[in-house]
């Protein structure tokens, strides 16, 4: 009996840890492979590379098309994040603690872009702008990005408002502080990490957006992920590996910074 228990416990642990190890490898392997291949000295994406060099990173210095696209993506992501924070934080304050049906309905509406196919929304937005006679521009692009990025800010901000200690706000009010003062000095500092984490995710997802940008950018506004996607559709270019290497390193650094500043991993659950 005891022996069977031992075997059963062992087989259970082996299965769980074995599958987790496969998942771990599956998650980490792509990033590692891209970084390794980006240092290849050859002209193909062969793995393992025939030799190592910095040539593809050096080549990026002259890749003005990619640089131009990266600048566009950065600008759009910054505008999108700023506007999303300005619109999203007040909305989060309004619906976070409201038990009313209307607040619940607004919450579902604001969250729906996370679930609905973004490509369908991109097409809908293109049809909308062309029917009302507004040509696509960086402005329409930012409007579309805000719709798909604002849910991230709402989610993390609402979660941090939910953790606020009511008594703190009450005592501030009972000590005669105005609501604005209480907001500035107590509420805002306490929910700031939530806002920051949400803004970070919104920024990353705007920078990375393809389905909305595909329809709402004009010919002059080349975006980095679209440029990379089109390059990959055409030919397998090693300089894309170098761009990917740069993006992975930037993402990783920003992630560590945000973990310090905002406790990112706790806010994503």
């Amino acid at each position: 009996m005891r022996r069977r228990d031992g075997w059963e416990a062992l087989s259970f642990r082996l299965t769980m840890w074995g599958l987790a190890a496969v998942a771990f490898l599956l998650l980490i392997m792509p990033s590692v492979v891209v970084i390794v291949v980006s240092f290849t000295s050859g002209f193909s994406l062969k793995f393992p590379p025939p030799g190592y060099s910095f040539r593809w990173y050096v080549a990026l210095l002259d890749a003005w098309q990619l640089q131009f696209a990266a600048m566009n993506s950065l600008k759009v992501a910054l505008w999108t994040t700023g506007l999303s924070v300005l619109l999203g934080v007040p909305a989060a304050l309004a619906i976070a603690r409201s038990p009313t049906a209307r607040a619940k309905a607004l919450d579902s509406l604001f969250m729906s872009p996370l679930i609905l196919p973004a490509l369908s929304f991109g097409l809908a937005a293109l049809m909308f702008f062309s029917l009302i006679g507004l040509p696509v521009s960086p402005l329409t692009l930012v409007a579309g990005h805000v719709i798909v990025c604002v849910p991230f800010i709402l989610r993390t901000t609402i979660a941090s408002i939910a953790q606020l200690e009511f008594s703190l706000l009450e005592s501030s009010a009972s000590l005669g502080a105005t609501r604005l003062y209480t907001f500035r000095r107590i509420t805002l500092p306490l929910i700031r990490p939530g806002i920051l984490a949400g803004a970070f995710i919104a920024f990353m997802s705007s920078f990375d957006n393809v389905p909305v940008s595909l329809f709402l950018r004009d010919a002059r506004t080349d975006m980095l992920p679209i440029r990379m996607w089109q390059d990959l559709e055409g030919r397998l270019d090693v300089s894309i590996a170098a761009v990917s290497g740069v993006l992975i390193v930037i993402t990783l650094s920003l992630m560590m910074l945000m973990e310090r500043l905002a406790g990112l991993s706790r806010r994503l659950r």
Binding site: A20, L27, V33, P48, I95, L119, F128, E170, P225, M228
Partner: protein
């Protein structure tokens, strides 16, 4: 005393959503009901054209089935990962969370590009199999449905693991001990205690993974290649290359409706499991 904030603070965002989200979706519905690209006549013919066409229906079914495969693979691998995150040693936790979060925040094009490198003819899988002498000529892994499923599983895995970690961390550890003390083996305890109690997390994770997998345009088109058509690419082709807006709008509406139907099934299951977990 007022501590909460008035609902009117949500007005700017609500107005923004009505203008740039609700209105476009209504326009999409309107365009889908047009008889021709010139938009001269209203009709439901576009929907009939899709629903009676075996090719179009095939694309829809293949897309929905792709989501099922990706979700199951994510669950099979993601659940043990979440379990090990909570049961593993303390030093492992930051490592695991980093490994889970990195793909979530890395550009989808970058992640997909990695799979092209891994699955390609000169890629890591073929190189490993050939050096082991298991195969003589490189296998075709890229541009296959299996390749798309594995690549999508990696791309969407964080969406499964994060809700699972939340759900598993809410389970009282002493329930495990109780189940063991009462004589249930590890497997029995897992299926009878852990899995039922984490059901809300499983359903939330499956919903997010499924919705993301069937709409993952970039990964589907780059790893799947030109021969394998899924709904997002179908919409894109009809809208841009063929400029057939009414039909593209109708496909979009059908796709939206299919996604909403699947989501509402998940939501209903979620409510049931929540009620059971609380009971």
């Amino acid at each position: 005393m007022m501590i909460g904030y008035e609902l009117k603070l949500a007005t700017p965002l609500a107005a923004f959503f009505v203008l740039f989200f609700v209105a476009p979706l209504l326009i999409l519905l309107y365009v889908s009901l047009q008889a021709d690209p010139g938009m001269t006549r209203m009709t439901a013919a576009q929907f009939g054209r899709f629903l009676l066409d075996p090719f179009s229906l095939g694309v829809l079914l293949r897309t929905l089935f792709l989501g099922v495969q990706v979700t199951l693979l994510c669950l099979l691998l993601g659940f043990p990962l979440a379990w090990c995150y909570l049961r593993g040693p303390a030093w492992l936790q930051p490592v695991l969370i980093l490994v889970v979060l990195l793909p979530l925040l890395t550009s989808v094009v970058v992640r997909t590009f990695a799979w092209i490198v891994i699955l390609g003819r000169q890629g890591i899988v073929n190189a490993a199999l050939m050096s082991l002498g298991l195969i003589d000529t490189p296998l075709r892994l890229l541009y296959t449905e299996g390749g798309v499923v594995v690549a999508l599983a990696q791309v969407q895995m964080p969406l499964m693991v994060l809700p699972l970690i939340t759900a598993l961390s809410r389970i009282n550890r002493s329930l495990d001990d109780a189940s063991a003390a009462l004589g249930a083996g590890a497997w029995r305890g897992f299926w009878r205690v852990t899995v039922p109690l984490s059901l809300p997390g499983i359903i939330a994770g499956c919903m997010l993974t499924y919705a993301a997998a069937i709409t993952a345009f970039i990964t589907q088109s780059l790893v799947g290649g030109g021969q394998m058509l899924f709904m997002p690419m179908y919409i894109y082709q009809q809208a841009t290359a063929l400029q057939n807006w009414p039909f593209a709008a109708a496909i979009s509406i059908i796709f939206l409706a299919a996604v909403l139907a699947v989501i509402s099934v998940f939501k209903a299951l979620g409510r049931l499991s929540q009620a059971r977990a609380n009971a």
